[in-house]
C-alpha cells in the first residue's frame, strides 16, 4: 500500500488569503483597513459643511411661504434623515449579530446608538424651533413628532441596555433583538404623514413625480445632507475603533487580574 503523500505544513505563505468578509469580521483587520479613511472623510465633511453653510446663509432664497425660516430646514432635514438612517444601520448590524455572529456587527450597533440619539434630539430641537414661527407651536402630538420622540427613547433605552451588561456578547444579542423590535417605528415615522392628519408636510424631496422644491433650495439641502451623512460615517468609524480598543482593554485587564490572583 503506497504511503499517503505528506501534506505541506500551514505557513503564512501557504495560508489561504482572507476574503474581504473575513477581513471585515476581524476587529484588528477592520481597524487597519478603515483607519486611513478617517482623515479624508473628516476633511471632506469639513469642506461640505463650509459649502453648506455658505449656501444656506448667502446663496439661497427665502421661501415664498415660510420666508427665511426655510433655512432651518438645512439642519432639520439632514438630522431627521440621520435619526432614521442610523437606526437602519443598527438594524442591519443587529441582523449581522443574530444571523452571522459577526463580531464587528456588535461593535457597529454599540457605536451607532449614542450618535443616533444625538441626531434624533437635534431633529426634535430644530423641528420645534421651525414649528413655532411656521405652525404657531413648538410641539404637537401628531404622528411624525410623537414617533420621532419614541425613536429617541428607543435609542436611550439601547444605550442603557449596553451599559447594563458586563458580558458584551450577551448584551449584543439582547440589544439586537430589542433593536429589531424597535425597527417597526421607522416605517411608522416615514409614513405617519400619509396615514394620519398632521401639521407636517408630506414628502417633498423623494417623490415619484420629483422634488417640489426649486434647485436654489435643493442645493444647500443636499450639500448639508451629505455633510451630515459623512460626519456620521466618520464618527461611526472612530467610535467603532474605540470600541475595538475597549474590548482589548477588557481582555488585558482580565488577564492581568488572573495573573495577579495566581
Amino acid at each position: 500500500m503506497p504511503s499517503p503523500k505528506p501534506r505541506p505544513s500551514m505557513s503564512i505563505e501557504t495560508a489561504p488569503k482572507m476574503s474581504w468578509w473575513n477581513r471585515l469580521a476581524h476587529p484588528g483587520q477592520f481597524v487597519q483597513w478603515t483607519r486611513p479613511l478617517v482623515l479624508p472623510l473628516a476633511l471632506a465633511t469639513a469642506v461640505l459643511f463650509v459649502a453648506g453653510l455658505w449656501f444656506a446663509f448667502f446663496n439661497s432664497p427665502a421661501d415664498y411661504q415660510m420666508g427665511d425660516t426655510v433655512r432651518i430646514m438645512y439642519v432639520h432635514v439632514p438630522t431627521a434623515w440621520l435619526s432614521q438612517f442610523v437606526y437602519a444601520t443598527m438594524a442591519v448590524s443587529a441582523l449581522g449579530t443574530l444571523i452571522w455572529r459577526h463580531p464587528m456587527a456588535d461593535v457597529s450597533m454599540k457605536a451607532a446608538a449614542p450618535l443616533g440619539a444625538v441626531f434624533t434630539a437635534m431633529a426634535l430641537f430644530t423641528g420645534s424651533l421651525w414649528g413655532r414661527p411656521t405652525w404657531g407651536t413648538f410641539w404637537e402630538w401628531d404622528g411624525r413628532m410623537t414617533s420621532t420622540l419614541v425613536l429617541l427613547f428607543i435609542y436611550l433605552g439601547i444605550v442603557a441596555l449596553w451599559r447594563a451588561f458586563d458580558d458584551q456578547l450577551r448584551a449584543a444579542r439582547v440589544v439586537a433583538v430589542f433593536t429589531l423590535v424597535g425597527a417597526i417605528n421607522i416605517p411608522i415615522i416615514k409614513f405617519s404623514v400619509d396615514w394620519w392628519s398632521t401639521l407636517h408636510q408630506p414628502a417633498s424631496v423623494f417623490r415619484p413625480d420629483g422634488p417640489t422644491m426649486p434647485g436654489s433650495i435643493l442645493t444647500p439641502l443636499f450639500v448639508m445632507f451629505f455633510a451630515f451623512t459623512l460626519l456620521f460615517i466618520t464618527l461611526q468609524l472612530i467610535a467603532m475603533h474605540t470600541e475595538v480598543r475597549r474590548r482589548r482593554i477588557t481582555t488585558l485587564e482580565r488577564r492581568a487580574a488572573r495573573e495577579g490572583a495566581k
Binding site: R35, F57, M122, F125, L129, L235, I238, R248, L252
Partner: protein
C-alpha cells in the same frame, strides 16, 4: 451676511444648538478614542492596530 427676517432668533437658535451639539459630539468621540489609546498604552499593549489611530 443676509438679513434673517422677523424670525431670526429661531434660525440662529437652531444653528447654534445643532453646531454646539456637534462640537460636543465630536469632542466626546475624540476624547473617548484618546482615553482608550492611553489605557492600552498603560496596559503595555504593543499591537499597532489596537493602540494607534
Amino acid at each position: 451676511m443676509i438679513g434673517l427676517g422677523e424670525h431670526a432668533e429661531f434660525i440662529i437658535a437652531a444653528y447654534v444648538g445643532v453646531f454646539s451639539g456637534l462640537v460636543v459630539l465630536i469632542g466626546w468621540t475624540i476624547y473617548a478614542a484618546r482615553r482608550s489609546q492611553q489605557r492600552l498604552k498603560e496596559l503595555g499593549d504593543t499591537r499597532s492596530d489596537a493602540a494607534d489611530q
